[in-house]
């Protein structure tokens, strides 16, 4: 005998439930959390490295590095002054259970900000919520201006957009108007920070914004 069972649920529901538990842990400890996503080499680790010294006088930082094979990135952020844990992403993205394991290794009461560096990939991380307060996409100029059109799910699903490597604008073909047109169609009014981890241009505005968000999270 056959019968139809209505479900109507997101297929990633089990992940999303653990993401909600991660979020509760962040909130219990007044921690502001970010999920940094980008293609390989866009500058995720560079942005964390540059931000740490500018935030360390006011806030205590922790970093969760999702790395497939090495601890290179975790070593870099640790050297820059943030307590860093490396979780071996057994996949092309981090998911909420992996971040939960990362949180187990951090002393949460002693932290104000946790930055999660996702695996370099513009497709997979978009489907997996980690429970962080905000999702940040780092686009970098040499990748080209067509990326919002090619990876719409990623551009649609983020709260903040960093445009890195603007020091390279004179050397590569990157039509900022076309890029922004794609971004605006998918994610109207998304907070955007053009910057360069190389020259430091624009880093100040980014860091001030992170500091503001951290204070707001702590007083909620």
């Amino acid at each position: 005998m056959g019968k139809t069972i209505p479900v109507v649920e997101k297929i990633t529901k089990a992940n999303d439930q653990i993401a909600a538990m991660n979020r509760t842990r962040f909130d219990e400890h007044d921690i502001f959390s970010l999920n940094l996503m980008a293609s390989p080499g866009a500058g995720k680790t560079s942005l964390i490295e540059k931000s740490i010294p500018l935030l360390a006088d006011r806030f205590r930082l922790g970093v969760i590095e999702g790395d497939i094979a090495t601890s290179l990135d975790a070593d870099r952020t640790e050297a820059a002054g943030a307590t860093s844990v490396q979780i071996n992403a057994a996949s092309c993205h981090l998911d909420a259970p992996m971040v939960s394991q990362g949180l187990d290794q951090l002393d949460l009461p002693s932290l104000d900000i946790i930055i999660v560096e996702n695996v370099g990939n513009l497709v997979c991380p978009a489907s997996w919520d980690l429970g962080t307060h905000l999702r940040v996409l780092i686009a970098s100029v040499p990748e080209g201006d067509d990326k919002p059109f090619k990876y719409p799910a990623m551009y649609r699903g983020v709260d903040v957009l960093v445009i890195n490597k603007i020091d390279l604008l004179p050397y590569v073909i990157f039509d900022m108007d076309r890029f922004r047109e794609g971004v605006e169609a998918l994610n109207r009014g998304v907070v955007t920070f053009p910057l360069s981890c190389q020259t430091g241009e624009g880093i100040g505005a980014w860091v001030d914004w992170v500091a503001d968000q951290t204070r707001q999270t702590a007083t909620l």
Binding site: M1, G2, K3, T4, I5, P6, V7, V8, E9, K10, I11, T12, K13, A14, N15, S91, C92, H93, D95, V123, C124, A126, S127, W128, D146, F149, K150, Y151, P152, A153, M154, R156, E181, G182, E184, A185, L186, R188
Partner: protein, 124 residues
């Protein structure tokens, strides 16, 4: 073969089995899915992994029915609703680039079909 759809397919199987058990168990014969273009999920890769991950489970041999949902946008200028093609998001009626997404993001399991014999029914 992209790895992305493997964890997605496992989640789909877990979700379907949980709902089947809650409904009294039995064999899952069909799954009805809605997949929006913006979900970034590729149906044929889900299908590829499905046959592997369902082996030995109550969903072995179950058919996946994908309902593809196109990306749909609305023009903020003239109100036209349209399906953009490729990398052109401009309004097809007035060419405005002031547009927003209205549909095509979902990635849902809508329903499952179960086959239950009399013994599973009396248990459930």
């Amino acid at each position: 073969m992209p790895m992305h759809e493997l964890p997605i397919t496992r989640s789909l199987l877990d979700l379907a089995i949980r709902h089947a058990e809650a409904a009294g168990g039995g064999r899952i014969t069909d799954l009805h899915l809605e997949v929006g273009r913006l979900s970034g999920v590729i149906n044929r890769f889900v299908q590829f992994y499905w046959d592997i991950v369902t082996e030995g489970t109550p969903a072995e041999g179950a058919l996946l029915h994908f309902k593809h949902i196109e990306l749909e946008m609305e023009c903020l200028g003239c109100g036209a609703v349209f399906n953009p093609e490729g990398d052109d998001y401009a309004c097809t009626a007035c060419s405005s680039t002031e547009v927003q997404v209205v549909d095509g993001e979902q990635f849902h399991l809508v329903s499952i079909d179960l086959e239950q014999d009399d013994s599973t029914m009396s248990e459930g």
